[in-house]
C-alpha cells in the first residue's frame, strides 16, 4: 500500500523532470526574485543598522532562504483538486482503493522534492555567490530547518487542499484560490517578515497558520530564533499541522455526500 503512494511521488518527480524549460527558467527567475528583493531591502535599510530586529546580513539570508523554502513548499494542489472536481474526474479517483487526498499530498511532495534537489540546492549556491548570505554552521540548525520546511510543506498543502475542496461547495472557487495565494504570500513572511508588522497586526498573525509556513523556518535558519524558541517554533508548526487535519477531514466527509458532477 505504502509503495503505491511512493510511486506517486516518483511519478510526479519524473513528470517535473520532463519539462526542462520550466526548470531552467525557474532557477533564473528565482535568482531574479531574490536579487530584486535584496536590492529593495537594501534601499529600505538605507543607512539603518537594524530594522524590525533584523540586521542587513540577517535580512539577506532570510530573503534567500525564504524564497528557496517557497520553492519547496509551493504547489498548485488547490488548482489541481478544484479542476478535478469541476471536470468530474474526482469521481473516478474516489473509486480507487487509495486515499485521494493522500495521493494529492504525495504528488505535491514529488513536486517539492524535485524543486528541493534541482532548484533549491543550485539556487542557494548561486545566491551565496552573488549576495552576502551567511549560512549557519551548527548542524543541528540545519537539521531543524529541514524538519521545519517539511512542516511548511505540510501546512501549505493542507491549506491548498482546503481551498481546493471548496470547489465541492461553491462550483467556482477561482476567486478563493487567488485570495489564498495572496494571503499566503503576504502573511507567511516571504515578502515581509512578521516583525515588520505593527503590534496589533502581529497579535492577530500569531494566531494564524501562515507564519508557520515561511517566517518560523526562516527565523530559525537565520539564527533569530534559537534554543528553546526554535523548539517552540517547531511545536507551533506541529500544532497547526494537527489542527488543520480536522477541517480537511470534516470537509472531505461532507463533500463525498454532496458530490454531484457538473454536466455529467
Amino acid at each position: 500500500m505504502a509503495s503505491a503512494y511512493l510511486d506517486f511521488i516518483r511519478i510526479r518527480f519524473l513528470m517535473m523532470l520532463a519539462y526542462r524549460v520550466n526548470y531552467y527558467s525557474g532557477i533564473v527567475i528565482y535568482a531574479i526574485n531574490i536579487g530584486a528583493y535584496y536590492f529593495m531591502w537594501k534601499a529600505i535599510y538605507g543607512s539603518a543598522e537594524t530594522l524590525g530586529g533584523f540586521t542587513v546580513a540577517q535580512m539577506t539570508t532570510y530573503i534567500a532562504v525564504s524564497w528557496m523554502a517557497r520553492a519547496f513548499y509551493f504547489n498548485n494542489l488547490d488548482r489541481e483538486i478544484s479542476n478535478e472536481i469541476r471536470d468530474g474526474s474526482v469521481a473516478v479517483q474516489m473509486t480507487r482503493p487509495i486515499s485521494y487526498l493522500m495521493v494529492k499530498m504525495m504528488q505535491g511532495f514529488g513536486e517539492g522534492l524535485f524543486r528541493l534537489l534541482l532548484f533549491m540546492a543550485p539556487g542557494m549556491i548561486v545566491a551565496i555567490l552573488i549576495f552576502p548570505v551567511s549560512l549557519p554552521t551548527d548542524p543541528l540548525r540545519w537539521a531543524m530547518f529541514f524538519v521545519m520546511i517539511w512542516f511548511s510543506f505540510l501546512i501549505n498543502s493542507q491549506l491548498n487542499i482546503l481551498t481546493g475542496l471548496f470547489a465541492f461547495f461553491v462550483e467556482n472557487n477561482e476567486g478563493l484560490m487567488r485570495l489564498k495565494r495572496v494571503l499566503i504570500d503576504l502573511l507567511s513572511g516571504v515578502i515581509l517578515p512578521m516583525t515588520f508588522f505593527p503590534g496589533w497586526a502581529r497579535a492577530i498573525l500569531d494566531w494564524l497558520p501562515f507564519q508557520a509556513i515561511t517566517y518560523l523556518p526562516g527565523s530559525v535558519f537565520t539564527g533569530r530564533l534559537s534554543g528553546g524558541d526554535a523548539w517552540n517554533a517547531l511545536l507551533v508548526q506541529f500544532v497547526w499541522f494537527a489542527a488543520l487535519i480536522v477541517p480537511i477531514w470534516l470537509m472531505w466527509r461532507a463533500a463525498r455526500k454532496r458530490l454531484f458532477v457538473q454536466g455529467g
Binding site: Y19, G26, A36, A43, E171, V182, L192, F196
Partner: protein, 265 residues
C-alpha cells in the same frame, strides 16, 4: 476596419454571455472581485508597512511610491480584463481546445481573448485611478491641461507592453509542452517595475527596462507626472516600447499557432 467591427460585435456577445454566467454564480463573482482588490491591497500594505520603518526608498517618498502603484493598477486592470490567459497552456494546448479556436472565423488570439474576458478586473483600474488622484493631491502636483491626455497615451503603451509579453508567454506553450508554465514565476517579476528603478543594480535595471520591460508599466510612465523624478525620455519611450513588444508578441503567437499540432488524444 471591418475585422475590428466584427471583433467588437463578438466582444458584445461574449460580454452578455459573461454576465449571464456570473449571475448564476453570484457569490463567486463577489469573492473574485474581492480577491482581486485584496491582491492590490497586499501590495499597498507592503508599501505602507515598509514606510513605517524608513522615511524613503532610494530618494522616493511614500506618496510617490503609492502614486506609481496607483498608476500601475490602471493598465494592469485593463490588461487583466482582456487577457486572462493564466490557464492558456492547460486549457487550450494540453486539453486541445485550440482545435476549436482555429475553426472559428475570428483571429485565434482574438477568439482566445474573448472567451476569457474578465470585466470585473476593470474595477482595479478605477481603484488605481483613485489612489493616483489621492497621491496626486497629497504631493501637491500641478495639473496641466495635457496631463489626462498623456495619461491615456501612457496607459495604452503600458497595456500594449503587458499584452505583448503575455501573448508571447502564452505562445511559448506552442513550442514547449510545459504544463505549469513560466507564468507563475513571471508573476513575481512584474512586481518589480512598480518600485523606483534606481534602487536596483545594473543587471536588474537592464532586465526591467529592455528585456521584460515591466518598468514601463509603472515607474517610467508615472515619472512623467512626478516633478521630482521627471524623466521625459523614458516616459515617452512607453508607447514606443508598447508598440514594439506588442508586435513581438503577435509575431511569436502567429508563428506558434502554425506549429500547433493538436493534443495527442
Amino acid at each position: 476596419m471591418r475585422k475590428m467591427g466584427f471583433a467588437l460585435s463578438l466582444f458584445r456577445e461574449y460580454l452578455a454571455n459573461y454576465i449571464k454566467t456570473k449571475l448564476t454564480y453570484r457569490a463567486d463573482f463577489w469573492v473574485e472581485v474581492f480577491s482581486d482588490l485584496m491582491f492590490s491591497a497586499m501590495n499597498l500594505i507592503f508599501i505602507f508597512v515598509v514606510f513605517t520603518h524608513t522615511p524613503a526608498l532610494g530618494d522616493w517618498t511614500e506618496a510617490e511610491v503609492v502614486f506609481v502603484y496607483g498608476y500601475f493598477m490602471i493598465p494592469y486592470g485593463i490588461f487583466s480584463t482582456f487577457m486572462n490567459l493564466w490557464n492558456f497552456s492547460d486549457r487550450y494546448i494540453t486539453k486541445g481546445e485550440m482545435d476549436r479556436i482555429l475553426t472559428r472565423p475570428a483571429g485565434s488570439l482574438t477568439q482566445v481573448m474573448l472567451e476569457n474576458v474578465d470585466p470585473p478586473s476593470l474595477l482595479g483600474s478605477l481603484v488605481g485611478l483613485g489612489i493616483m488622484a489621492a497621491a496626486w493631491a497629497k504631493l501637491g502636483l500641478p495639473l496641466h491641461w495635457y496631463d489626462p491626455l498623456v495619461l491615456i497615451v501612457m496607459v495604452l503603451g503600458s497595456v500594449l507592453i503587458y499584452m505583448g509579453l503575455y501573448t508571447a508567454l502564452a505562445a511559448i506553450s506552442f513550442y514547449s509542452d510545459a504544463p505549469t508554465g513560466i507564468a507563475p514565476l513571471m508573476y513575481n517579476i512584474q512586481n518589480y517595475g512598480r518600485y523606483p528603478i534606481q534602487i536596483y543594480n545594473k543587471g536588474i535595471r537592464f532586465l526591467l527596462t529592455w528585456l521584460l520591460p515591466f518598468a514601463f508599466v509603472g515607474v517610467y510612465p508615472a515619472s512623467f507626472f512626478l516633478d521630482r523624478h521627471h524623466d521625459r525620455v523614458m516616459a515617452w519611450l512607453t508607447p514606443v516600447m508598447g508598440v514594439i513588444f506588442f508586435a513581438l508578441g503577435l509575431y511569436v503567437w502567429n508563428r506558434g499557432v502554425k506549429r500547433y499540432r493538436g493534443a495527442g488524444s
